[in-house]
């Protein structure tokens, strides 16, 4: 039969509202019953019964009042919630009765959950959320490789772009080039991060302008269409949020652009570096203007390109169609794509470009903090277990009085989950109030930093972790307590021995777990620390001390004819003048000029293609090498000694044969066992092949100017007197005043031309340590977590051994009374702790080996199974364990047998 349950939602809410309103009194029932009985009694009287009989009959007919009342009451509210509230009230009273225990437990959990949630909020923003553009799964970056000649992530050519665009795989393909421009017109020429993009760039990303419009995606202008879109930040900063900004002109370098749009405040560009992601001006470019490099396949002028897949095309399908396209292009243009070069085009999810580098360190941190939380849970479980013993009598009595075991377990679990929720709330509160501070600890280079927030997902995560943690650390003690045999406990009460064998075993297992987990963390931290230390102390190959570098940008008008620094001798004249005047700046003893790429550890990849003169099988393929233009002073200033040959001289000028200085790695790679001096290469920059040969005139030592990790990346230096470049860097060495020098240097340069911006002054030692910032951050975090874990494990073993010792006081007393040496007692207790520590270490070592191999990519110069780290940290762990055991062991040793036996 269907019954009347179909209206249950209505019923549920009615009951819930009763519950909320606290309508628990059964006054209505009582009143109705009274009325019912009165009427029945009256009827009975009318039927001829005596007064007493009538009343009695009425009551009998009504039925058992208690049972009816219970049924009524159950209907009135929700029994499940009712019980829960009752359990909660009881749990709160229990916690309030043990404030010391409660505060320690809550604090442990608060720190664990607070830290875990903090790291999670970073992971949530960077790794879990898709990029903040519509249909982000369709967005890819196009990456070209020539693995056959060891060239990876090379530029694209314009014909390739057109091929991809018309392949039918993508909705849009947009090349982009990042750089910076001089924005003039304000009081001080400003240097702004700039991107030239295909006109379809914003349409591809799926973003609209907040004010005005973005570029028209089908704009056919071959070169720059002189339209500019600016960021919300620039609009507010440089234009005072002028509502009439649209149509205003903006001088970028020496060209005039019209502002057509302002992006919304929450728009952040995509890209591999923080600078690119902070782009503030975009200009549309067709990349096909006659003023730009020629449009051949071998002229790879487009630094990088992003694309949006057609709807419904998966990444795999797109990649396989692209592979087919690549294969057919290889057949069609064998000269441009010789088979030995093994040309490949990869589609990389755009999100990977942005956060790919931080994925591993972030996951490592999340894992580390999760382990700390787990260890915290184990500690609280230990505390609860010890308390459960103290409450053994309570449990036994309640059980003897008929409380079902399930109810006891439920009660204890409610208590632990409550504890954990309180801890979680406290943790969230701590996180909330320290969030500004915490955000400052994170290196500014972390992608999507501005997206980190304490949002619903994060709160939900904290809630879930709290409940899980509570259940986790509450389960063992709850089961333990429910297993109590009431008769046994009640009979034993008052005797010395507390705690069953099972309890000791559970405690020991928990401590072993703790040790294992902390050892894993410690070893991970140790390996990271060693990697960091090795990198920190690596032989740089150059001397950054007392050196400052600053950037200088020469305007690059779209029409070369108007470029006053276009002819090499004009640029050379400016550089010579800077070198001459710069030497007289206060404190300066040496000065050099180079291109932006000559600043160690602080530049984009800047590859130049070249072919070797001597014929070998691969010589006609373009090779690629990192390149920079410098003045000859550069090498001495940075302490990079010349090994052979000579540096650039006053004679390496525009019309003289081109000279190059290479590093050892370059010579070793291309002319092993040969004299590199006098060898010739032909270079092509941005696809403009040099017609003349460049001769190697000198070899300098290798230096870690690319990355600290890389020992031998080939490098070629060209003479600033022979090749021009707009991105310049000025190097100064001496007893410099880092506060005053940038201003002095700017004045010096602007005395030559007031429109030249000098910016980005930095001390080279800062650059070196800055390149370690992210590594330092993850190392410090994991180290912090590791030390916390060690501390928690120490406290855990201390608590456990103390507990075991106190349970055995009588036993120890008897032993001493029977003549046992106090030293023997000490050894006995210590060996107990040692056993636990060693068991934990054994498990931990296995875990650490697995973890360290998983994080091998984050290590430098140290093997993932480095014996020194593994052994020394195991020893540290054992020492901490013994130290933690020593206090209870001393207590055991000092047991007074008379007292111990009398008390028992």
């Amino acid at each position: 039969m269907k019954g009347f349950v179909m209206k249950s939602p209505h019923r549920f809410f009615a009951r819930l509202s009763n519950l909320a309103a606290g309508r628990r009194a059964d006054q209505r029932l009582r009143e109705e019953m009274e009325e019912h009985l009165a009427q029945q009694t009256a009827d009975n009287l009318r039927a001829g019964m005596s007064t007493a009989e009538a009343r009695r009959e009425a009551v009998l007919k009504f039925g058992a009042f208690q049972a009816i009342r219970e049924e009524y009451h159950d209907e009135l509210s929700l029994p499940f919630i009712e019980t829960l509230l009752q359990d909660l009230r009881y749990a709160l009273r229990q916690l309030a009765a043990a404030p010391g225990f409660a505060s320690i437990a809550i604090l442990t959990i608060a720190l664990g959950i607070g830290a875990t949630t903090a790291i999670y909020s970073v992971v949530d923003a960077t790794l879990l959320h898709p990029l903040p553009y519509p249909e982000p799964e369709q967005l890819v970056r196009i990456q070209e490789d020539f693995p056959g000649v060891g060239a990876h992530d090379v530029r694209l050519s314009v014909p390739e772009w057109k091929d991809f665009q018309s392949s039918g795989i993508f909705q849009y393909v947009a090349p982009e080039r990042s750089g910076s421009v001089n924005v003039t017109g304000s009081s001080q020429p400003a240097r702004i991060q700039f991107k030239s993009v295909a006109p379809n760039y914003f349409t591809l990303l799926g973003v609209k302008a907040e004010l005005g419009r973005v570029f028209h995606p089908d704009d056919p202008t071959p070169g720059f269409n002189l339209e500019a879109v600016i960021s919300d930040g620039l609009w507010k900063r440089a234009f005072g949020a002028d509502p009439h900004i649209l149509g205003r002109t903006l001088r970028l370098d020496s060209d005039v652009y019209f502002v057509v749009g302002v992006m919304p405040p929450d728009f952040h560009d995509q890209g591999r570096t923080t600078e690119i992601r902070n782009t503030e001006i975009w200009a549309a470019c067709g990349f096909s203007s006659p003023l730009l490099p020629p449009r051949t396949r071998s002229s790879r002028a487009l630094r990088t390109a992003i694309a949006r897949l057609k709807p419904g095309v998966t990444l795999e399908a797109a990649q396989s169609r692209l592979d087919a396209l690549v294969a057919s292009l290889q057949k069609q243009f064998p000269a441009d794509y010789p088979p030995e070069s093994a040309w490949r085009v990869h589609l990389v999810p755009l999100g990977e470009t942005v956060v790919g580098k931080v994925r591993q360190p972030l996951l490592l941190m999340l894992g580390a903090v999760g382990l700390v939380l787990l260890i915290g849970c184990v500690n609280v479980a230990n505390l609860l277990l010890a308390r459960a013993t103290a409450r053994g009598r309570e449990m036994a009595v309640r059980q003897a009085l008929g409380a079902p075991r399930l109810q006891l377990i439920r009660q204890l679990l409610t208590e632990s989950v409550l504890l954990s929720m309180l801890g979680g709330m406290a943790g969230l509160a701590i996180l909330f109030f320290t969030r500004k501070l915490l955000l400052e600890i994170i290196p500014a280079t972390l992608p999507r930093l501005h997206e980190i927030s304490i949002n619903w997902t994060v709160l939900l995560f904290a809630l879930g972790v709290s409940v899980l943690a509570g259940a986790l650390f509450g389960l063992a003690p709850a089961l333990q307590a429910a297993r109590i045999d009431p008769i046994h406990v009640l009979r034993q009460e008052g005797r010395g021995s507390k705690g069953s064998r099972g309890q000791t075993l559970t405690l020991s297992a928990l401590v072993v777990t703790e040790f294992a987990l902390s050892l894993v963390l410690l070893i991970a931290a140790g390996l990271l620390l060693r990697s960091f230390w090795d990198l920190y102390n690596v032989r740089l190959g150059f001397d950054p001390e007392n050196v400052m570098a600053m950037s200088l940008w020469l305007p690059a008008p779209n029409d070369p004819a108007t470029d006053i620094y276009g002819p090499p001798d004009q640029e050379a004249r400016l550089i010579r003048e800077i070198l001459r005047r710069g030497r007289s700046l206060p404190g300066v003893t040496e000065i050099a000029v180079g291109t932006q790429e000559s600043i160690p550890l602080n530049h984009d990849k800047n590859l130049v293609s070249f072919v070797l003169e001597e014929s070998s099988t691969r010589s006609d393929l373009p090779h690629q090498v990192q390149w920079a233009n410098v003045t000859p002073e550069y090498f001495h200033l940075l302490g990079m000694p010349l090994l052979r040959g000579r540096l650039f001289t006053e004679f390496d000028v525009e019309n003289a044969p081109r000279a190059a200085v290479v590093n050892e790695a370059f010579a070793r790679t291309w002319w092993p066992n040969e004299d590199p001096l006098g060898k010739r290469v032909k270079l092509s920059q941005l696809g403009r092949a040099d017609t003349s040969w460049t001769t190697v005139v000198g070899v300098v030592t290798d230096a870690r100017t690319e990355t600290l990790e890389d020992t031998d990346s080939p490098q070629i230096y060209l003479s600033s007197w022979q090749r021009t470049d707009k991105n310049l860097a000025i190097f100064l060495r001496g007893r410099l005043d880092p506060a005053a020098l940038p201003e002095q240097a700017r004045n010096m340069v602007q005395s030559l031309n007031p429109e030249l911006p000098v910016f980005g002054a930095k001390r080279l030692p800062d650059v070196v340590s800055g390149s370690l910032a992210q590594r330092r951050f993850s190392m410090e975090m994991v180290l912090l977590f590791g030390l916390t874990a060690l501390l928690l494990a120490g406290i855990g073993v201390y608590g456990t051994i103390s507990y075991i010792v106190s349970g055995r006081t009588r036993d120890i007393g008897i032993r001493i009374a029977l003549g046992a040496q106090r030293k023997t007692i000490l050894h006995m207790v210590l060996s107990q702790g040692l056993t636990l520590a060693l068991a934990g270490a054994a498990v931990g070592l296995v875990g650490a080996l697995i973890v360290s191999h998983l994080m091998a990519g984050l290590l430098y110069g140290v093997s993932p199974s480095d014996p020194l780290t593994f052994i020394s940290l195991t020893v540290v762990l054992v020492i901490v364990a013994l130290a933690a055991c020593y206090i209870p062991a001393r207590r055991a040793m000092r047991v007074d047998p008379t007292v111990a036996l009398r008390e028992a």
Binding site: F4, L29, E35, Q39, G63, A64, F65, I68
Partner: protein, 115 residues
């Protein structure tokens, strides 16, 4: 008791709705007496079980209640059928009649009818 009350509760609820449908607003005692008169001993004992049921029906929205004055001028709670309750009664009546008919036919069938 619980085994019995599954069917009993269902039939009792149906009886309550039918009673209110026929007689209009009634207080608890009135409903109980009416059911007792018609069904005989179903409510001869445990009349009190009616009250939790009335509360449940009210929670479900099938009936509504208000305080009023009884015949002997005492405060009593009067129950009346709601529009939803009337609809429910119709459905339940139909269902019940169908079920009853099927069960009746089932009991009528004799051994030889099946062979």
């Amino acid at each position: 008791m619980p085994e019995k009350s599954d069917v009993l509760q269902g039939t009792l609820a149906l009886m309550v709705l039918k009673t209110l449908d026929l007689l209009g607003p009634l207080h608890g005692y009135g409903i109980a007496r009416r059911i007792e008169q018609i069904s005989g001993d179903l409510l001869a004992v445990n009349q009190g079980t009616l009250y939790p049921l009335l509360l449940k029906l009210e929670h479900e929205g099938a009936i509504a209640s208000d305080w009023g004055a009884s015949e002997n001028n005492r405060r009593a709670r009067f129950y009346r059928l709601t529009r939803a309750g009337r609809k429910q009664l119709q459905t339940e009546t139909r269902d019940w009649e169908q079920t009853a008919a099927i069960i009746a036919r089932f009991f009528d069938v004799k051994g030889q009818d099946l062979s």
